[in-house]
């Protein structure tokens, strides 16, 4: 019998392992994807996801009745923890000069990227610095707002915008050079 979300949450509140594992099955894959895109390491991503899920399952107050909200909270927790892991790798998101980003934003043309060029794009993403890749992933793939990224990275929103534009430019440049 397949459990509905509310049955899962109820079971988790009652600390029943079957529902706790159903909770894991429900959220772990998408959280793992988010974690992997930021960390680019399967084992580290798994560790982050499991740590977040354990934190929520052992704290009933964090269990939310609405699946969309639960997903949002979990994803945010995973991203925050991933950023902590990246900080341990001594990655710093410094404050950037806002003026630099204004001119560069319009020049970030990536129309040239075609479906068949995915391998080249992968190489370009892989060769980016973790700092730039993180900003791009948070903004483009995770679809976080500039304010959210600003809170997560603990930098000004203007710096987020600058970093994003520069990262996007770099991606295009790297791609073109391949």
């Amino acid at each position: 019998m397949e459990l509905g979300y509310y049955d899962i949450i109820l079971g988790c509140r009652m600390e029943r392992q079957m529902e706790q594992m159903a909770f894991y099955d429900l959220f772990a894959p998408s959280l793992y994807a988010s974690a992997f895109r930021l960390l680019a390491d399967s084992w580290e991503a798994e560790e982050v996801v499991q740590e977040v899920l354990l934190r929520v399952l052992t704290n009933k107050e964090l269990l939310i009745d609405y699946p969309e909200d639960m997903q949002r909270v979990l994803r945010r927790m995973v991203i925050n923890l991933c950023i902590d892991h990246l900080r341990e790798r001594r990655i710093q998101w410094e404050e950037w000069d806002e003026r630099l980003s204004i001119a560069s934003e319009d020049n970030a043309e990536v129309d040239i990227i075609k479906q068949e060029d995915l391998v080249q794009l992968h190489t370009a993403i892989a060769s980016m610095s973790e700092k730039d890749r993180t900003v791009l992933m948070l903004s483009i793939v995770e679809e976080l707002s500039t304010e959210e990224i600003s809170q997560i990275l603990r930098i000004k929103t203007s710096s987020v915008r600058s970093q994003f534009c520069r990262a996007k430019q770099k991606l295009v440049k790297l791609y073109r050079n391949k």
């Binding site: 392992q17 594992m21 793992y32 992997f36 499991q50 052992t58 990536v110 370009a124 892989a126 992933m137």
Partner: protein, 192 residues
């Protein structure tokens, strides 16, 4: 190209590999070892222990019910009544303690007594030690003031204690020969 299209491309260009093998099992293991769930596990242990205790208590109760004894019910009644009257309880426990000591002495001294006489003696002692309880319960239910109740109950227990002390005295003075004859034992029990 807008961010939506770029997202699509990036997701394809930067695919996420499958979760490492055994990930689910590792999580289940972490979950069972987490302090929260361990506490729950401990509660299960406590619960199991409590269940075993309850079962043992029920078995003991069944055993007591099956044992032909009326004292346990009387004891329970008197313990409830005494819990509500500390003044009487103090006297009760004092005399009960004294009576228990006398009973112990008597049983020790009568170990070599003829079996039929000893059985009669044990019945007598049992009656001497238990009858004050039912009398006490009756007195406690009387419509008299507490001081009167204490006097009556103390008097009942003192009287029964004296009877036990008398038996003890006879046995300790080596009246074995006297008790060994049916007449002698009858005389002694008449005196009680």
């Amino acid at each position: 190209m807008d961010n939506k299209n770029l997202k699509h491309l990036m997701e394809q260009a930067w695919p996420v590999p499958a979760m490492p093998t055994g990930s689910r099992e590792r999580f289940a293991s972490k979950l069972s070892k987490s302090p929260h769930n361990s506490a729950r596990h401990n509660w299960w242990l406590w619960g199991t222990g409590a269940s075993v205790g309850i079962v043992a208590a029920i078995l003991a109760l069944v055993f007591l019910v099956q044992t032909p004894s009326t004292t346990s019910i009387e004891d329970n009644k008197i313990l409830v009544a005494l819990s509500m009257n500390p003044e009487i309880a103090e006297q009760y426990y004092y005399y009960k303690d004294q009576m228990w000591k006398e009973t112990e002495n008597i049983l020790k001294l009568s170990e070599d007594m003829r079996p039929d006489l000893r059985a009669q003696l044990v019945t007598e002692i049992k009656m001497l030690t238990e009858s004050p309880d039912s009398i006490t319960l009756d007195i406690m239910n009387e419509g008299i003031d507490n001081a009167q109740k204490v006097i009556y109950i103390t008097s009942v227990y003192r009287q029964h204690l004296r009877s036990l002390q008398y038996i003890h005295h006879i046995l300790s003075e080596n009246y074995q020969t006297f008790l060994d004859t049916p007449q002698g034992s009858q005389m002694m029990f008449k005196e009680l």
